[in-house]
C-alpha cells in the first residue's frame, strides 16, 4: 500500500501541511492580480496525510541499494563512503541558510571556505586557477571548452576540432558538440592506452583540445601522457583532463605536472559529495594561469581590510560568462572542503594508495575467474571481460551483474567502456575492507558456477525482476496522468 504511486494514495480533502492564518489585512486576490492570470483552482496535486507521505517515501527508500547499505563497486563513479559529519556541518546555521545574495561583508565565513577550496583544488591539480561554478562534471567540461574557445579567439586562432580516445566518457563528445566543436574520435588501440601515432595523425592546427581521462576508463594510467601533451602543445592545442578518475592520483601525480592545461573535478566522486541518487554534483575546473582570465565567474579573491584577510567575489576580466545562476553548487563544494580539511596531504595520498591497493587486490583475485584485458596492474579500477564466459557458458556481464544483486552487492558498471566486450568495470574505492572484497570475490565465484538459466532469470530477490526496457523505450509512460490515460 505505502509504495503505491503517490497519486493513488490521494483522498480529496486530506491535508498534511497547514499554514498560519494570515496576520495582515487581506485583499481579494483578484484585486491584487488580474483575474485572467489567476487559476480557477489550485493545481491537482495529490492530497495526503503527513504520516502517509513519510511512510511512502521511507518505504520507497528501502527499495534502493546504496553505499550506506551495500558494497557498490560501480566503475567510474567512485562510490565511496560519504562521511556523516559532512551532512551535519553542511546544515549548520550560518552555512545552510545563507542567501546567495548576502552581502560580501555578511558572507566572509563562506567566502573564506570557498577561497580555501579554490586554493586546495588548484594545488591538487597543479593548475592554479580555479572556478567553482560548474554544477557537475559535464558542465565543467563545457565550461573548459568555452574557456579554450575564448582563449583561441583572443589569439585569433581558428580551431574547430576536439579529439578524444574511443574509451572516453560520452559527456566528452556531447560537451564538445554543445560548445560548437567538431568531434574527432581516435580509433581503439590494442593496449587500452591512447595510440600516440594515431593521435599525431589526428591533430593539427585546427585542433583546439584533446580530452583525455587519466587514469583512463580502463583504470590504466596513460603512461605516455607527457608525450601526448607535447604533441598537442606542439600544434598549439590544449590538453583537457577529465577528472572523473582523480581518486587514483591524489598527491601522487598532478594533471598540471603531466601536461594537462585544464581539468574538472567531480566533487561527488572524488571528494565524497554524496551522489544523491543521481545528483547534485559539483564540477569545478582548474586551468593554467594563462587561461585564468577566461574562467566563468564569480570566483573568490582574497584581499585585506583593516589588516585582516578579506574575501570578495570577482569576475575574471575576459570571462566566458556565467555557467549558471548564483555562485555554484555550494552544498556539494562544502562537502569537498570538509573532506580535504580532514585529510590533509598525507591523508589524501593514502586515499589514492588504498584505492589502488583495493583495485589491484580484487583484480588479481578476480582474474582467476575472468580475464582482465590490457595490463597486469591497474590504478583505482579495472575492467574485466565476461566474453569468455559468454562464449563458453552463455553467461553475460549483465547476468552476473543482476545476480550480484541477489547476493547483496550492487553491480559493477557493465558494457562500458565500449572498447572491452562484455565489460565489467569495477571500482572498489578505498573505503572498503579486504573482508568485503573477499566476500565479493567468493560471491563472483559462486555465481559463475551457477546454472546459466538461473543467471538469465536473475535477480530473484529484489523488489522487481528484470524490466522490459525495450517496450518502455518504444512506448514511454512518463507521468501519472499519462499512466491513468492508458
Amino acid at each position: 500500500l505505502a509504495t503505491a504511486p503517490i497519486f493513488e494514495l490521494s483522498k480529496k480533502g486530506r491535508r498534511a501541511a497547514t499554514l498560519p492564518k494570515c496576520d495582515v489585512p487581506t485583499v481579494e486576490l483578484s484585486d491584487l492580480l488580474l483575474e485572467d492570470v489567476l487559476a480557477t483552482s489550485p493545481p491537482p496535486l495529490p492530497e495526503l496525510s503527513e504520516g502517509d507521505v513519510v511512510r511512502h517515501f521511507v518505504n520507497l527508500s528501502t527499495l534502493n541499494m546504496c553505499v550506506d547499505t551495500h558494497f557498490y563497486p560501480l566503475g567510474s563513479c567512485t562510490m565511496k563512503y560519504n562521511p556523516k559529519r559532512h551532512e551535519r556541518l553542511a546544515r549548520l546555521h550560518g552555512i545552510g541558510d545563507l542567501h546567495p545574495y548576502s552581502r560580501v561583508e555578511d558572507s566572509q565565513g563562506m567566502l573564506q571556505i570557498l577561497y580555501e577550496l579554490q586554493e586546495m583544488l588548484g594545488e591538487i591539480a597543479g593548475l592554479p586557477a580555479v572556478s567553482l561554478q560548474p554544477a557537475a562534471g559535464a558542465q565543467g567540461e563545457l565550461a573548459a571548452l568555452h574557456v579554450a574557445s575564448a582563449y583561441f579567439a583572443d589569439r585569433k586562432e581558428s580551431r574547430t576540432k576536439v579529439v578524444f580516445p574511443s574509451s572516453a566518457h560520452g559527456t566528452n563528445p556531447a560537451s564538445a558538440a554543445l560548445a560548437g566543436f567538431e568531434c574527432i574520435q581516435l580509433p581503439p588501440s590494442s593496449n587500452g592506452l591512447v595510440d600516440v601515432e594515431a593521435l599525431k595523425n589526428a591533430v593539427d592546427e585546427q585542433t583546439a583540445v584533446f580530452m583525455v581521462t587519466n587514469p583512463n576508463t580502463l583504470g590504466l594510467f596513460e603512461k605516455d601522457i607527457a608525450k601526448i601533451s607535447s604533441i598537442l602543445h606542439d600544434v598549439g592545442g590544449l590538453v583537457y583532463i577529465d577528472g572523473a578518475n582523480m581518486n587514483a592520483i591524489l598527491g601522487i601525480t598532478r594533471p598540471g605536472d603531466f601536461g594537462g592545461d585544464m581539468m574538472h573535478y567531480n566533487v561527488h566522486k572524488t571528494f565524497t559529495g554524496p551522489h544523491g541518487a543521481g545528483g547534485p554534483g559539483a564540477g569545478p575546473i582548474a586551468v593554467r594561469s594563462f587561461l585564468a582570465d577566461y574562467l566563468p565567474g564569480p570566483i573568490v579573491t582574497k584581499t585585506e581590510k583593516d589588516g585582516q584577510p578579506y574575501f570578495e567575489l570577482s569576475v575574471p576580466p575576459k570571462s566566458i560568462g556565467r555557467m549558471r545562476s548564483f555562485f555554484g553548487n555550494v552544498g556539494i563544494l562544502l562537502r569537498g572542503y570538509f573532506y580535504l580539511r580532514t585529510l590533509g596531504s598525507d591523508g589524501l595520498r593514502k586515499v589514492s594508495e588504498h584505492a589502488i591497493l583495493n583495485a589491484n587486490y580484487l583484480r588479481t583475485r578476480l582474474e582467476e575467474l575472468m580475464p582482465v584485458p590490457n595490463a597486469d596492474r591497474c590504478m583505482h579500477e579495472f575492467v574485466a571481460s565476461a566474453k569468455k564466459l559468454k562464449d563458453e557458458k552463455g553467461i553475460t556481464a549483465m547476468d552476473i551483474a543482476k545476480r550480484l544483486l541477489d547476493y547483496g552487492f550492487h553491480a559493477p558498471t557493465v558494457y562500458f567502456p565500449l572498447v572491452v566486450p562484455e565489460a565489467m568495470m569495477i571500482e572498489p574505492t578505498e573505503t572498503e575492507s579486504k573482508e568485503t572484497l573477499d566476500a565479493f570475490f567468493e560471491t563472483f565465484k559462486q555465481i559463475i558456477s551457477e546454472e546459466s538459466e538461473r543467471l538469465h532469470e536473475a535477480p530473484e530477490s529484489t523488489s522487481i525482476r528484470r524490466p522490459d526496457e525495450v517496450s518502455a523505450a518504444r512506448n514511454p509512460v512518463l507521468s501519472w496522468t499519462a499512466c491513468v490515460k492508458d
Binding site: 504511486p5 498534511a16 501541511a17 497547514t18 499554514l19 498560519p20 491584487l32 492570470v37 493545481p43 496535486l45 492530497e47 495526503l48 511512502h56 528501502t62 534502493n64 550506506d68 562510490m79 563512503y81 559529519r85 551532512e87 556541518l89 550560518g94 552555512i95 542567501h99 546567495p100 573564506q112 591538487i124 558542465q139 560520452g170 558538440a177 560548437g180 568531434c183 603512461k223 601522487i252 605536472d257 603531466f258 544523491g276 541518487a277 543521481g278 547534485p280 545562476s325 555562485f327 555554484g328 580532514t342 586515499v351 591497493l357 596492474r377 591497474c378 553491480a411 578505498e430 579486504k434 522487481i464 525482476r465 524490466p467 526496457e469 518502455a472 523505450a473 514511454p476 509512460v477 512518463l478
Partner: protein, 446 residues
C-alpha cells in the same frame, strides 16, 4: 583523520596476493618523472571535533540572523521537517544513478512521481527528471526550441528574465551563430510592441519569466500568442510556488515551462544545489534534454520504473545527444517531490496566498517611508521593486544595521539599465509576520 579500512597487516596480505612488496610498486604505473616530488601543500588535517569548531567559527562570520526580505530568485520559504527527514535518508543520498533498476526502484519511483507532480503543477504532459538549476534550464529550453523549430537564427529573451539566467544563455550560445536578443522591459514588463517588431521566422523561441525578475506579472498569454503566430516556441520561466494561485503555464499556452525550483523545499545554501525544472507538451518529448523515468513492466508483468528514452542521452548518442547533462539533481528533485506531496493543492494555495498578501501589505507600508516608492505600477506576486531617492546600497545597509536583509540592489546585475540603479528587490514569503514587516517599516522610517 582518514577513512582507511585495511589495517597494515591486511595491506601486507593484499600486497602478497598482488605480488608486490609495497604500495610504491603499484604506483610504478605512473612514470617516475611525473610523480609528485614531496607533498601537496594543503592545510594540516583536522579531526571531526576540530572541523566542527572551525566551521562553527566560520559560520558565525556569516550573517543569517536578520529577518529575511531578500529575493532575486532565491527565497526564504518554509521547509517542512519531513522534507529534511526523507532527503536525509542514506538510501536516497548515497545511491547513484539508477543503472540497475532492480536495485533502484526507490529513486526511480520518486523521480517518476516528481515528473508527475511537475506535470500536475504546470499542466504540461511531460517533465524531465530535473536539470541543474533555473539558468541552465532556460538555456536547455532554448536549445530544445531550436531543435523543435529547426531554427537557430535567433532567441528572444525578455529583460524580465533573471539577468543571471540571461547571462547563462549568452554563455551557452557563445560559439553558435544564434543571435540572442533582449526585449526590453517597460514599466517592469516585457515591451510587447518591441517584441512584435523584433520577432520573425528565424526566432526559435521567446523566453519570458512569470512573475518576472522585478516581481511583476507579465502578459503571459499575449507573449505566448505572439510567439505562436510566428512559429516560435514560448518558454516561460515560472516561480513554482506562485502556481498555488496563478494560472498554469500550459493553461495559458506556453510550449515549454522551466523554473528554478528552490522554493519547493530547498534550503538557500548560498545558491546551490538548486533544482532546474523543465516540462513541455508531449510532442516535444524526444527533443527534451535530461533524464526521463518511464513506467515499465518487469518480467513478471509487475509495474516498475526504468530510465526511459536513453537514446537521447550522451552515453548512447555521444556528440549527437540532446544535451551534455548526464545526471539529474536527484536529491533536490526528491525534496521537491516530498514538498509538493506535503503541501497538496490547498497547502500550495495557502503558501502562495500568504506570500502574496504579505508582500502587498509590505509594499503598502514601505511606501509610507520617505523616499521609497514602488518602481512599477503593475501587479506583482510576492516580490516587488522599490525605488529609493538615495543610494540603493545605503538603503540595504540601513536595513541590515537594523536587523533586516533586503535586496539585492538591482545595480549589481551586469547590464542592469541605468534607470534601475536606485532600486532594490523586496521579497515577502509566508514565513514573514506582520510584526516583522511593521518593524522593517519602522526601522527604515528612522
Amino acid at each position: 583523520m582518514g577513512y582507511l579500512y585495511n589495517t597494515p597487516e591486511q595491506e601486507r596480505e593484499m600486497l602478497d596476493v598482488i605480488g608486490c612488496d609495497n604500495i610504491e610498486q603499484l604506483l610504478d604505473q605512473v612514470p617516475s618523472d611525473l610523480q609528485l616530488k614531496g607533498k601537496l601543500d594543503l592545510p594540516e588535517p583536522m579531526t571531526e571535533l576540530e572541523l566542527q569548531d572551525h566551521l562553527t567559527r566560520l559560520a558565525a562570520r556569516n550573517h543569517c540572523d536578520r529577518v529575511c526580505f531578500r529575493g532575486g530568485g532565491a527565497y526564504d520559504h518554509f521547509v517542512p521537517a519531513v522534507v529534511d527527514e526523507i532527503a536525509g535518508r542514506g538510501e536516497f543520498y548515497t545511491a547513484y544513478t539508477p543503472y540497475q533498476p532492480e536495485a533502484s526502484q526507490g529513486s526511480l519511483q520518486a523521480f517518476f512521481e516528481y515528473q508527475s507532480l511537475i506535470c500536475a503543477l504546470t499542466g504540461f504532459d511531460v517533465s524531465n527528471a530535473s536539470l541543474y538549476e533555473g539558468g541552465t534550464a532556460v538555456s536547455e529550453a532554448a536549445f530544445m526550441a531550436m531543435r523543435v523549430t529547426r531554427r537557430d537564427g535567433k532567441i528572444l529573451l525578455s529583460e524580465g528574465v533573471h539577468p543571471e539566467f540571461r547571462q547563462v544563455v549568452e554563455t551557452y550560445t557563445r560559439e553558435l551563430d544564434t543571435e540572442v536578443i533582449t526585449i526590453p522591459a517597460v514599466n517592469g514588463v516585457t515591451d510587447l510592441s518591441r517584441l512584435k517588431e523584433v520577432i520573425d521566422d528565424q526566432v526559435a523561441c521567446v523566453v519570458f519569466q512569470q512573475p518576472n525578475f522585478f516581481g511583476c506579472i507579465e502578459p503571459g498569454e499575449e507573449i505566448c500568442e505572439i510567439a505562436r503566430k510566428h512559429g516560435a516556441l514560448s518558454v516561460v520561466s515560472f516561480d513554482p510556488l506562485s502556481l498555488g494561485v496563478l494560472k498554469r503555464p500550459a493553461d495559458y499556452g506556453a510550449d515549454i515551462g522551466v523554473a528554478e525550483g528552490q522554493s519547493l523545499g530547498i534550503p538557500l545554501q548560498f545558491g546551490g544545489p538548486y533544482l532546474g525544472i523543465l516540462a513541455c507538451r508531449d510532442e516535444f518529448v524526444r527533443k527534451m534534454p535530461g533524464r526521463l523515468i518511464s513506467l515499465a513492466k518487469d518480467r513478471d508483468g509487475k509495474q516498475c520504473y526504468v530510465l526511459g528514452l536513453q537514446t537521447r542521452e550522451q552515453h548512447i548518442r555521444r556528440d549527437k545527444a540532446t544535451s551534455n547533462i548526464c545526471t539529474n539533481q536527484g536529491l533536490l528533485a526528491l525534496r521537491a517531490t516530498v514538498y509538493l506531496s506535503l503541501m497538496g493543492p490547498e497547502g500550495l494555495r495557502e503558501a502562495a496566498t500568504l506570500s502574496c498578501q504579505k508582500a502587498h501589505y509590505a509594499a503598502d507600508r514601505l511606501q509610507e517611508v520617505d523616499g521609497l516608492k514602488l518602481a512599477f505600477d503593475g501587479p506583482f506576486f510576492k516580490e516587488f521593486t522599490l525605488s529609493y531617492s538615495g543610494d540603493a546600497d545605503e538603503l540595504v545597509k540601513r536595513a541590515a544595521d537594523a536587523g533586516f536583509d533586503i535586496g539585492p540592489s538591482l545595480k549589481h546585475f551586469p547590464g542592469a539599465p541605468e534607470s534601475s540603479h536606485d532600486s532594490v528587490l523586496i521579497a515577502v514569503t509566508e514565513t514573514r509576520s506582520k510584526d516583522q514587516i511593521d518593524a522593517l517599516v519602522s526601522a527604515l522610517k528612522e
